[in-house]
Amino acid sequence: MSDERWIEAVRSEFQPEPLAPARAAELRRDLDARIEARRGLPRFAFPAFASAVAAAALYLAWPHAAILPTSDGTVSSGELDAFVDPDQLTGELTDQAEYLPADYQGLALLLDDDAADR
């Protein structure tokens, strides 16, 4: 109750001067101009441009062919052939006498005479 008097005094004393008509008109024109400028911009221009750039970047970064898993989750030999050229890997895929380091090769021969166990 005792607060009402001083609060009323603050309310009545602490307020802005009424806007002069010229100033009010100036503010109204300024706001209208800002809104018009905003409306002039195509509303979806920036989002559309940004989406296009993102899509292009994604396309360029993405592998152009992907190994698609077969229905049972394995990769078929046909799909592997599409990505691996066996002719280029002949050296790695054929048997090599030096496949095991010499020490291990000797050890293997001691354990089992059959060299094919390598």
Binding site: F14, E17, L19, L31, I35
Partner: protein, 186 residues
């Protein structure tokens, strides 16, 4: 309240038209200016700029109005945020701009009211925390209900009551001797 919110949602498409929004703004400019003036410690020029920015932000945000509050509450929330942004900016300018005085913002030099009294009120309000000042101004000076003020401040009702209580305690100590001006007898 529900009806008001539904009506607000229905009003949005028409407000998207520039001339309609202009009318919306003009109907609220005086009250918005008064609120910004009080929250900014009596700086009329800055209050005018802040109100103008708040109207423009409101126009830009109209499309995202979700109808969770009335249009007025929604707009005053934008305005209070704009005031907070301005105060942060002023604080930074004081911090880095070489202004050694942490004095409250200048009170407009054109008042018809008592300038010394305005400065005194401004200083008392500036000593409050931001939420305390907002609660006091919205509820006691702008006469919003506590629930409306809570919506504008985006705080719980209990929190707003607490801020208001502390604001009253602080201001009572400094301004309790003020009396409303007597109306001249005719």
């Amino acid at each position: 309240m529900e009806i008001a919110v539904e009506r607000a949602k229905a009003d949005v498409p028409s407000l998207m038209r520039a001339e309609e929004f202009s009318r919306f703004a003009e109907a609220r400019r005086e009250r918005a200016l008064r609120l910004a003036f009080r929250l900014l410690g009596g700086d009329q020029a800055t209050a005018e700029d802040v109100v103008q920015n708040a109207f423009f932000r409101a126009y830009r945000a109209l499309a995202s109005f979700r109808g969770e509050a009335t249009l007025d509450t929604w707009f005053y929330r934008i305005l209070v945020r704009e005031v907070q942004r301005q105060r942060r900016w002023q604080g930074l300018r004081r911090l880095f701009g070489g202004d050694p005085e942490s004095a409250p913002p200048a009170v407009d030099p054109r008042p018809v009211a008592d300038p010394a009294l305005r400065r005194r009120i401004s200083r008392a309000l500036e000593r409050l925390s931001g939420p305390q000042r907002e609660a006091f101004v919205l509820i006691h000076l702008e006469q919003l209900t506590i629930a409306e003020a809570a919506q504008v401040m985006e705080k719980a009702v209990g929190t707003v009551k607490s801020h208001l209580h502390r604001a009253l305690l602080a201001l009572r100590g400094e301004l309790a001797d003020l009396h409303p001006k007597e109306e001249p007898e005719s």
